[in-house]
């Protein structure tokens, strides 16, 4: 999916980048990067760019956290983890900003300061998630540890 928006020269550079994956926080393949971008698009469309990177960073933080599955797909498809998976929004293609945000998060940009949860306080009734220690609020999302 992300190939669509690139020049052939960039595509080659990116394939090289995926090969040289040692510098990313976690090793991912193209399909996982696309999945990450689609979650960002579905969860944070309309949010500031920093907020989009933050959503992607939460997923990466979960992959690295011992209490969560250790792949992007494992985290995203964990039962009841993301509403956008349950309602099918995740299947819509990501836009350019979401792809960029996913890429930045994989490169270690983490505006959340290490959060592993996020929620929209206007939409969640869960007392448990609200009890998590808040690190930061970006746009409509609260990021917590």
């Amino acid at each position: 999916m992300w190939m669509r928006v690139q020049e052939p020269k960039e595509r080659a550079a990116e394939q090289e980048a995926v090969k040289q994956a040692e510098q990313w926080r976690i090793s991912v393949n193209e399909a996982e990067l696309d999945l990450l971008a689609r979650v960002v698009h579905a969860e944070a469309k309309g949010e500031p760019y920093e907020g989009q990177v933050a959503v992607a960073a939460v997923i990466i933080n979960r992959v690295q956290h011992p209490e969560f599955p250790n792949t992007i797909a494992g985290v995203v498809y964990e039962p009841l983890a993301f509403q956008v998976v349950a309602n099918g929004q995740v299947n819509k293609p990501a836009d350019e900003a979401a792809i960029r945000a996913a890429h930045d998060a994989l490169n270690g940009f983490d505006p959340t300061g290490g959060a592993v949860y996020f929620y929209n306080p206007a939409k969640t009734a869960s007392a448990w998630i609200r009890s998590r220690p808040v690190i930061k609020t970006i746009g409509r999302h609260v990021f917590a540890s």
């Binding site: 992300w2 928006v5 690139q6 020049e7 020269k9 960039e10 550079a13 990116e14 394939q15 090289e16 980048a17 090969k19 040289q20 994956a21 040692e22 510098q23 500031p48 760019y49 920093e50 990177v53 011992p66 209490e67 969560f68 599955p69 250790n70 792949t71 494992g74 498809y77 964990e78 039962p79 009841l80 350019e96 900003a97 792809i99 960029r100 890429h103 930045d104 490169n107 270690g108 940009f109 983490d110 505006p111 959340t112 300061g113 290490g114 959060a115 220690p133 808040v134 690190i135 930061k136 609020t137 970006i138 540890s145």
Partner: protein, 434 residues
């Protein structure tokens, strides 16, 4: 007309009843087929879960005997991959319908403890408890799989017209029972050390100082910066945002202690590429030099949507420090710096300042020639450097970093300079990355 209707009425009722019956039977068989299909996929997931659980139990058994740290690290790595596979299988079961929380809990406790195990920080009592729990769960799941045949129950009337899926009740009950029979593991597990995030040290700065630092670091004199947010967590920080002409927003995170820039991101979309990769690297390197960073070595270049993300590692006394990377993003249209990331670099600096010394020993028990002799005989060694990198045990180890060519492919092979062990092998796209 009335008489005709009276005569035909029983026939009409009979036809409608026949249609309803046909529809119900059709629904029943569709539902049944769907249910059997899902049932089969659940059973497959359960069977895979059982296999991974058995393997994990065997690994834990071995872990109780192993005493060498290298073997322990290798086994811990293997256990983590088995746990990941078991978690993936578990995730395919209908967790919304049956409570398998303790099984899930046990998996992540096992995952966490694998790090403590490889670092020699897991007591034998906890290891025994884990082994006992996993073995019991494994044996019970195996027994369950052996005893349950595919069941074909009548579908209850209220499920005829629904598409809600029902995991065979007896199987769900048996799994729930296995789950509830698991004991809460020793509290010692809850207190296991986690990978330390580290701290940035230094004097606390004011929000006004953070604005000043962000403005100077970004080099955007035309931008107006202000503190828009604060970050709690491991590294408390001020989030400073700047906006200037156009719709670009620059966000800069400045640590409250020490006042260092942790990261900077820009919302700018770059529409065209005008610069070559070498020019982009040069712009990034200049940016770091002007901000007082030490000598750096470029290890990676990624270009996405005309934005280049370039990774550098510091070179201190000839050693490439892989655990302390800094990343710089450059606009491929005009060479403007639009992103920076240096959290690990600053954490390392703070650590060195606290320790009063840089923490990489330069003792080379394995010399360059010996390291090169450990590389596959078919491969040609083209380059040599020294590099320190984090290993599986979260220790920083000194390595010989050998750039090799095998056929048409290029690799970086990292040989531990103390033990001669292959720490890492990474394929790179060209010898430029040597």
């Amino acid at each position: 007309m009335k008489r005709w209707l009276g005569r035909a009425f029983p026939n009409i009722v009979f036809a409608v009843a026949l249609l309803v019956l046909g529809f119900a039977v059709g629904q029943y068989y569709l539902q049944k087929a769907y249910q059997l299909q899902m049932e089969a996929s659940y059973r497959r997931a359960l069977r895979e879960f059982a296999v991974h659980l058995t393997e994990l139990s065997q690994d834990l058994g071995k872990a109780r005997v192993i005493s060498g740290s290298e073997q322990a690290a290798a086994l811990a790595e293997e256990m983590r991959s088995r746990i990941a596979a078991a978690q993936a299988s578990l995730g395919q079961l209908p967790l919304g319908e049956i409570d398998l929380s303790r099984l899930e809990q046990m998996m992540w406790q096992c995952y966490r403890s694998s790090y403590a195990y490889s670092a020699g920080q897991l007591s034998s009592a906890v290891l025994d408890a884990l082994y006992e729990q996993i073995s019991r769960a494994s044996s019970e799941v195996q027994t369950l799989l052996a005893s349950k045949e595919v069941e074909s129950p009548w579908v209850a009337w209220n499920r005829y017209f629904t598409t809600s899926l029902v995991f065979t009740d007896s199987l769900a009950a048996a799994l729930s029972s296995i789950n509830s029979n698991l004991q809460e593991l020793d509290e010692e597990l809850a207190g296991l050390p986690r990978r330390a995030a580290g701290r940035i040290t230094g004097e606390e700065i004011s929000p006004a100082k953070a604005v000043e630092i962000a403005g100077a670091f970004s080099g955007r004199s035309e931008f107006e910066f202000r503190v828009v947010n604060e970050t709690a967590g491991d590294i408390p920080a001020y989030t400073v945002q700047g906006s200037g002409p156009g719709d670009e927003t620059l966000t800069v995170e400045v640590s409250r202690q020490g006042g260092v820039v942790l990261w900077m991101i820009s919302s700018r979309a770059v529409r065209a590429r005008q610069l070559e990769t070498a020019e982009l690297v040069q712009a990034a390197r200049r940016f770091l030099e002007e901000r007082g960073f030490p000598e750096v070595h470029v290890t990676d270049v990624q270009i996405l949507q005309n934005r280049a993300t370039i990774t550098f590692v510091p070179v201190v006394e000839g050693i490439l420090r892989y655990a302390e990377p800094v990343k710089v993003q450059v606009s491929a249209a005009d060479g403007d710096i639009i992103g920076f990331q240096g959290v690990l670099y600053h954490l390392a600096r703070s650590r060195y300042q606290s320790n009063g010394a840089e923490d990489v020993e330069q003792h080379l028990a394995v010399e360059r020639e010996e390291a090169e002799s450990k590389v596959n005989a078919q491969a040609v060694v083209l380059d040599h450097k020294l590099a320190s990198l984090p290993n599986d045990l979260d220790e920083t180890v000194l390595t010989h970093r050998l750039g090799v060519k095998l056929g048409d492919d290029y690799y970086l092979v990292y040989i531990n300079a103390e033990s001669g062990r292959e720490e890492q092998i990474v394929q790179v796209s060209s010898p430029d990355f040597f």
